[in-house]
Subunit: 194 residues, 2 copies
């Protein structure tokens, strides 16, 4: 399995390098990703520092889609513009999602240490996702989110004032998420020293 | 470990029996819980079919609290009454949370089968939570939620009309959650036959 882990890690780092060249990697995550990938027993597969979005849910997962998506703080006007572009059916949601990081671990013991460490850094949603194909993936998630409906079947159901409040709250949560990421980074430094 | 699993399971079933006698177990979950507990390699530790709540977040997790909590469909008036009772500081949220079930598994292989089966039943958030004390716990979670702020620092920021819309959406989601639970139950029946 060790050789397999090494091969999978090399492949993941190659893919990451390509995504990075195209500007597809969340820049707020780069130092954390690089740090995790520098550790012998771990590598990242996907990660997002947090994002605010306008989401279209037509009732089936298959056709759902983002109308707008920002991996940073946003202005109410940006959200409002996205809402105008949204389809006239289904439910249009204002969403803020917390940090999510997927980390592949060499052994179950590595995964178990990482789970403890992420919990101690303030992440409440931490778990081992998969054992598929000898791959052990730990998911680290924040919990603070916003999921507020903005329009139903083409009917706008929120006021501009409420949209301002949602945007400000989302931006606050984004800031808090970055602080928690820094705590995780410090804790990972301790892991290295063990 | 097998003996340990049996002891832990017996203890969990005793605790469950006591909670049930006091009416503390979510009645919508009873048949699923009983079924899982009848399987040799699994037992449930905590579970909730879904809930709508009014949640007080003062900015620190320590002092956060529920102002109202319903494991069923709700009426807008009930939510409105809870909002009136809420503290005059922090953020008061309207929340709807999906099904959550914790299932302890005898072996890693049992856990892995359960993870696959729950994903195939439509649960997107499924993972192994812990390996602590020889205990392997799988968490099965729905994803559809609502997290909408209703008041900030004593200032009500939603209209009664918007509250009606939130309540109706929450009730719809509760109904869908119950259908997904039924699918999981049927899939578990297949697990038994293997």
């Amino acid at each position: 399995m060790d050789n397999k882990f090494k091969t999978q890690k090399d492949y993941a780092l190659k893919t990451l390098g390509e995504a990075r060249a195209k500007g597809e990697v969340d820049t707020d995550m780069l130092s954390l990703i690089d740090y995790i990938n520098s550790l012998q027993d771990y590598y990242t597969t996907s990660s997002c520092a947090g994002r605010t979005s306008v989401f279209f849910d037509p009732g089936s997962k298959k056709d759902s889609d983002w109308v707008g998506k920002w991996h940073r703080k946003v202005m109410p006007e940006e959200v409002s513009e996205a809402l105008k572009r949204a389809p006239g059916n289904g439910i249009i949601w204002f969403m803020h999602e917390p940090t999510i990081i997927h980390i592949t671990c060499r052994t179950i013991e590595n995964a178990s240490s990482l789970v403890d460490l992420a919990r101690n850094s303030g992440y409440k949603k931490v778990g081992i996702l998969s054992f598929k194909d000898d791959r052990i993936i730990v998911e680290v998630c924040g919990t603070e989110r916003i999921d507020a409906p903005m329009a139903i079947e083409g009917r706008k159901i929120i006021s501009d004032k409420y949209l301002n409040e949602l945007t400000q709250l989302a931006n606050d949560k984004f800031g808090k998420g970055m602080l928690r990421l820094n705590r995780l980074m410090k804790a990972l430094n301790e892991l290295e020293k063990r």
